[in-house]
């Protein structure tokens, strides 16, 4: 199994926050932009892959205890979201590709 930093390196994701944070294991990804849907569905070793970039994304990651958030299509977190990520030790990564391509890449990397 990979941890978040190994996954980020292997997939070429860059960091908005948390490069220095302890990396938790990642076993998969959960792709969804409807945040209420994520709670109770994403597993606690799933990276949340989304285009949403407001503070609620970070709150959902905290609530569902997810190892990281990956923002796709080069979307940047808004200032408030970034502040909340820092305060709550949430790793936020950036992928330049769309959600599907990002998930495919994660899938390939995790499958070894």
């Amino acid at each position: 199994m990979m941890n978040v930093h190994e996954l980020a390196a292997a997939c070429g994701f860059t960091y908005f926050n948390g490069k220095e944070l302890e990396a938790r294991p990642v076993e998969g990804a959960y792709c969804c932009d409807l945040l209420s849907w994520v709670i109770g569905r994403a597993g606690d070793q799933d990276a949340l892959v989304t285009v949403m970039s407001n503070p609620n994304v970070i709150a959902v990651a905290v609530m569902a205890d997810l190892p990281c958030v990956i923002l796709t299509e080069g979307v940047r977190p808004d200032e408030k979201a970034l502040e909340k990520a820092r305060e709550n030790d949430v790793i936020v990564l950036s992928s330049s590709e769309p959600t599907y391509a990002t998930a495919l890449k994660i899938g390939k990397v995790l499958a070894g």
Partner: protein, 183 residues
């Protein structure tokens, strides 16, 4: 959330937790005005200015079991994602009013959802609370006041299964008549 009725349920539970014994839920749909408005107003304990300022922040909650609360932030996001606005006003000892508007034809606007089931589940679990529901469309207005139901039913509680199933059909029929919640 997938449906606005789920947001309404969530926000109404805040009112219940705030000790309200009177909760008004209003929905207004205007095709001509391209607007949906939702308001939930209660006479619960209310919030002070300091808490009110922070309440749309998902990292604020009255719960002690976890450090995030998403009911209000997600409702605000639903409105803003659909070109609408969100406001919340409150006064300690008087109550709280939550208002959200939505651009009716916005692609990211969630459907209203099943208000019949939402109301029945609220009434079923909270027989002691007076719920006043107003649903207005271009076709007309439907008003449901649980005090009036109590007056008609006498000693029979609203939580009685036969009453609930009648109530569910009654709400759906009346919403159907004004084409409420179809959009």
């Amino acid at each position: 959330m997938k449906e606005l009725s789920l947001n309404i349920l969530d926000i109404t539970y805040n009112s219940i937790k705030a000790g309200a014994d009177r909760i008004e839920i209003g929905i207004s749909e205007s095709t001509t005005g391209n607007l949906i408005e939702i308001e939930i107003r209660d006479n619960g304990c209310g919030m002070d200015d300091e808490f009110l300022r922070r309440v749309t922040d998902p990292f604020v909650t009255t719960r002690t079991t976890r450090k995030v609360g998403l009911g209000i932030p997600l409702f605000k996001q639903s409105a803003e994602d659909a070109g609408g606005t969100f406001t919340i006003t409150s006064k300690v000892g008087e109550g709280t009013a939550v208002y959200a508007s939505f651009q009716l034809d916005h692609l990211d606007r969630a459907p209203i959802g099943d208000m019949g089931s939402t109301l029945v589940s609220l009434i079923q679990a909270n027989d002691q609370i007076r719920f006043i529901y107003r649903h207005k469309t271009d076709q007309g207005t439907f008003v449901l006041d649980t005090d009036e139901l109590h007056a008609q039913l006498g000693d029979v509680p609203l939580s009685e299964p036969a009453v609930l199933s009648w109530l569910h059909a009654y709400i759906n029929e009346n919403l159907e008549n004004i084409q409420g919640g179809k959009i």
